[in-house]
């Protein structure tokens, strides 16, 4: 007997849980499939504070933020499969799931993708030199430290200034390690400003912008590394190479939406976000397949993930229950300093408002965010500073969206 659900949510992290709860509110029968032994996703290893300021109006740790959703999911009529991995998803929304209970196929009226993202590795950026023990992604070191109780090393360099790297600079310091240096290839941080201040500046940890690693040394364990400033093409200037002794290198050089499950499906993908192209309901190019959270695009704050997932989960329920009518869409295009804008499509003729999220290409001061439709400015806002590490939101009136939309900086 093949089980049937209105909505199957793949992933039980913050996105998956918020999507499931939102779908349930609309009256859908919901299944959440989670790989780990517990719900909560990566939040479980993020034991620092700073979560929930926008969503709950108070400051929580990652596990506390997750727990609020876990309690709701567990108390509601939502089926949850733990230690369960979706091995295959078909365009007609059959979901094949492997768990210690067995291999089953579930039929879904709608599917919400909420698988999160993975970290870019030392291998992916081809860090030169030896390949010793002591080189880890920041997230792996975070999991070992916060969930397992082990410190990977004591003399640490961090490559990249993504938020997890910055958080781990502070965490490792608090646990008794010495963080010698943070190196960032770009002339600015890819993380939140508040993390630069609270995790590096407050602990006197130096960060060198426009620098990269030129060579790792040591085998079988890392003993040190060479680094150098980079030129305008991001190539290292080897004459200025310097050495720092360390036993650990943590990488925080980017997050990649984990869309491997879509490889067999003809889903339109964005080369910029590495996530699906979606409409205002977060529906992908395959009707009934929705995407939200970090598998759609990498977010700065979990609060934004929860809100986005609520849109996707609610719309997935509407779709499964037959409460939607498809309409023509306008495209949303990013240009002039805007790296991408999401959703990439908005259905024409709707009422009320729609939020569009975007990130910038570089750091900009005193720019104006401008939205144009058919050459007419329908939105304009002055800004003091814009940085790629922070996600920006603009709210548009749907009645203005009569043609294709362009988001740019002026």
């Amino acid at each position: 007997m093949i089980k049937k659900y209105d909505v199957v949510v793949i992933g039980g992290g913050p996105a998956g849980m918020a999507a499931a709860l939102s779908a349930l509110k609309k009256g859908a029968k919901v299944l959440v499939v989670e790989r780990d032994v517990r719900l909560g996703g990566i939040l479980n290893q993020c034991i620092h504070n700073g979560f929930g300021l926008h969503y709950f109006g108070e400051e929580l740790t990652g596990p506390e933020y997750a727990d609020r959703f876990v309690k709701l999911v567990e108390s509601e009529d939502i089926d949850v499969m733990l230690e369960s991995m979706v091995l295959r998803l078909t365009p007609d929304k059959k979901v094949e799931i492997l768990s210690p209970e067995g291999y089953i196929t579930v039929e879904a009226g709608a599917v919400v993708l909420a698988m999160g993202c993975r970290e870019r590795t030392a291998g992916a950026i081809a860090v030169p030199g030896t390949r010793p023990a002591g080189v880890y992604t920041a997230g792996m070191a975070q999991k070992l430290c916060n969930m397992k109780g082990y410190l990977v090393g004591k003399k640490v360099v961090i490559l990249g200034s993504g938020d997890i790297g910055l958080i781990m600079a502070r965490r490792m310091t608090l646990e008794g390690a010495k963080v010698e240096l943070v190196l960032e290839l770009m002339p600015y941080s890819s993380g939140l400003k508040r993390n630069i201040v609270q995790c590096l500046n407050d602990f006197d940890i130096p960060i060198k912008y426009a620098h990269t690693i030129t060579r790792l040394e040591g085998s079988p364990r890392l003993t040190g590394l060479y680094y150098a400033p980079v030129d305008e093409n991001r190539n290292p200037i080897l004459e200025k190479e310097e050495y720092v002794s360390c036993d650990t290198l943590l990488l925080s050089v980017g997050l990649i939406p984990e869309n491997d499950l879509l490889s067999g499906m003809d889903v339109e993908m964005s080369p910029i976000t590495s996530g699906a192209v979606v409409d205002e309901n977060r529906m992908t190019s395959i009707p009934g397949v929705f995407s939200c959270g970090n598998v759609l695009h990498v977010h700065d704050l979990v609060d934004n993930v929860s809100r986005e997932a609520e849109i996707a989960g609610g719309a997935a329920a509407d779709y499964a229950l037959g409460n939607v009518t498809a309409g023509d869409t306008v495209s949303v295009r990013a240009t002039d300093g805007v790296r991408y804008a999401l959703p990439q499509r908005i259905t024409k003729g709707g009422e009320g408002k729609v939020d569009v999220f975007f990130r910038t290409v570089d750091v900009y001061t005193k720019k104006r965010i401008v939205v144009e439709v058919d050459g007419n400015e329908i939105y304009s806002r002055k800004t003091m500073i814009l940085a790629p590490g922070e996600m920006e939101k603009i709210t548009l009136a749907r009645q203005d969206l009569v043609g294709d939309v362009i988001v740019r900086l002026k």
Binding site: E119, L151, G176, S263
Partner: protein, 476 residues
């Protein structure tokens, strides 16, 4: 002190192949390996190509053993259940270099290898992604790919099942003759042996010196590689070589038996054991790949690596020492060493054990390993009923179950490091490079072996992954 009929020094693909052949005979055999696993030197870090044998200088040991080794390889990897694909190979050339192709063709014929010269149309229809300037190719249908480390591991496993012993982390420190026997001293112990076989790879000349056998000068050449994500595999049909030069077979594009694609190797003189990857080397690969392959996609890189070829003169050194008794050598095994290994082992088996009876009831075929990624739903459900660990995916990128990892940890030659597990079942070999699963693998090794997490290593001694418990971080 235990007396062995034969001690093999070195657990690369040649040493394990020799041990495997000797273990069929009624002999007490022991392999000594200085590192934490077999196949951690040149045998791990090469192109994984089974060469057809057309480009070796006719009359050399390289030509002889490569051609015979290729012939033995395809049934061997089937018996041992080692991932492989007989995908053929192409040496490609532009319009100005047809002569190079013809020269290789002649060598191939002399070496007894089936080769064909193909024009542009035939070449491109076989491998559509070659550069536009390619006009000619030499096709060798007997060539292909194997997983080189899995070959050495399977050879070691079969040898152990047939009664051979393997001692890891026992580097040989002295070799002396006493009462007509060899006294083999290691970091940990001492053994007696009637014969010794030197398969010590990069340390081959050193082991010869320890024994007082022939002295050889050794040089080393580093080969660096890019490994690409398995999504690139569909774009590469076969092994694509440029025309060879004095420095080697050139920078190739090839599928791997594990389902990835590699670009490389470079060829630069280096120091012993220098497996670092260099900025120059990577640049060298990028610029050379583009000469044969139309759309190199370095952005799909998931890892880089480098291996060291050990070179003694122009040829392999294989056979019995003429200086000391009961001492055999298979050293200076650079390319095509992997392809030649089965034939080198056969040759040494004949020399050492030619007149020794075969054991009864030897294992010839290893059981087919079940891989979650290759099983259908019904097969999985049957397995999960027996052992629920089949339903627990540890490595999500490569779809490896806990059951496969536990089996690797308890295999005939046990895998007790994270890298040893990786080489056997691919956990951590995919695009996240263990970012998600390494901690799980560490916990499973810890649970199965009773070692503390801080004792779990990546590979070699001293490669512990997590150095401290957070409760016991020293103040210094």
């Amino acid at each position: 002190m235990k007396t062995y009929d034969c001690i093999v020094i070195g657990g690369g693909v040649v040493g394990t192949a020799v041990l495997d052949r000797l273990a069929f005979h009624d002999l007490a055999t022991l392999l000594l390996e200085k590192d934490d696993d077999v196949s951690v030197g040149a045998s791990r870090a090469n192109s994984g190509i089974v060469h057809a044998g057309y480009d070796c200088k006719p009359g050399t040991l390289k030509a002889k053993f490569n051609v015979r080794g290729n012939h033995l390889m395809w049934s061997l990897v089937d018996d041992l259940d080692v991932p492989h694909l007989k995908c053929g190979s192409l040496v490609v050339a532009d319009k100005d270099n047809k002569a190079g192709i013809d020269e290789l063709y002649d060598k191939g014929v002399k070496n007894g290898v089936e080769v064909e010269v193909w024009d542009k149309q035939k070449t491109m229809s076989f491998e559509p992604n070659l550069s536009d300037n390619i006009e000619w190719s030499l096709y060798a249908k007997e060539a292909g790919i194997v997983s080189p480390y899995q070959l050495a591991i399977a050879l070691a496993d079969r040898a152990v099942l047939n009664g051979a012993e393997i001692h890891l982390e026992e580097g040989v420190t002295a070799l002396e003759r006493k009462d007509g026997l060899w006294v083999v001293t290691t970091e940990k112990s001492q053994y007696l042996a009637k014969t010794v076989v030197n398969c010590a790879g990069a340390y081959g000349a050193d082991v010869n010196d320890l024994a007082g056998a022939e002295h050889y000068e050794t040089s080393f050449r580093k080969g660096e590689y890019y490994v690409l994500d398995n999504t690139e595999r569909q774009n590469v049909e076969t092994v694509i070589f440029p025309l060879p030069t004095k420095a080697g077979k050139g920078i190739l594009v090839a599928p791997t038996a594990d389902g990835n694609v590699i670009y490389g190797p470079t060829s630069h003189l280096c120091d012993l054991d220098d497996t670092s990857v260099t900025l120059d080397g990577l640049q060298d690969i990028r610029s050379n790949v583009a000469k044969t392959y139309k759309n190199p996609v370095v952005r799909k890189c998931i890892r880089t690596y480098a291996g060291v070829r050990t070179i003694i003169g122009d040829d392999f050194v294989i056979g019995e020492s003429k200086v000391v008794d009961d001492f055999y050598m298979a050293i200076g095994i650079c390319s095509p060493g992997l392809s030649s290994a089965p034939a080198i082992a056969e040759h040494l088996e004949n020399l050492i054990a030619g007149d020794v009876a075969l054991k009864d009831n030897v294992v010839t075929r290893l059981p087919r390993a079940k891989r979650l990624s290759e099983l259908d739903g019904d097969e999985l459900n049957t397995l999960i009923k027996e052992d629920e660990a089949w339903g627990r995916i540890v490595c999500r990128c490569e779809k490896v179950s806990e059951a496969e990892i536990v089996k690797a940890i308890h295999s005939p030659l046990p895998a007790v490091t994270v890298d040893a597990v990786k080489r056997r079942v691919r956990a951590g070999m995919g695009r996240c490079q263990g970012g998600f699963c390494a901690t799980r693998v560490m916990e499973i090794i810890s649970r199965e072996t009773g070692k503390d997490i801080t004792e779990i290593r990546k590979g070699k001694k001293g490669s512990n992954i997590a150095l401290y418990s957070v409760k016991e971080v020293p103040n210094d």
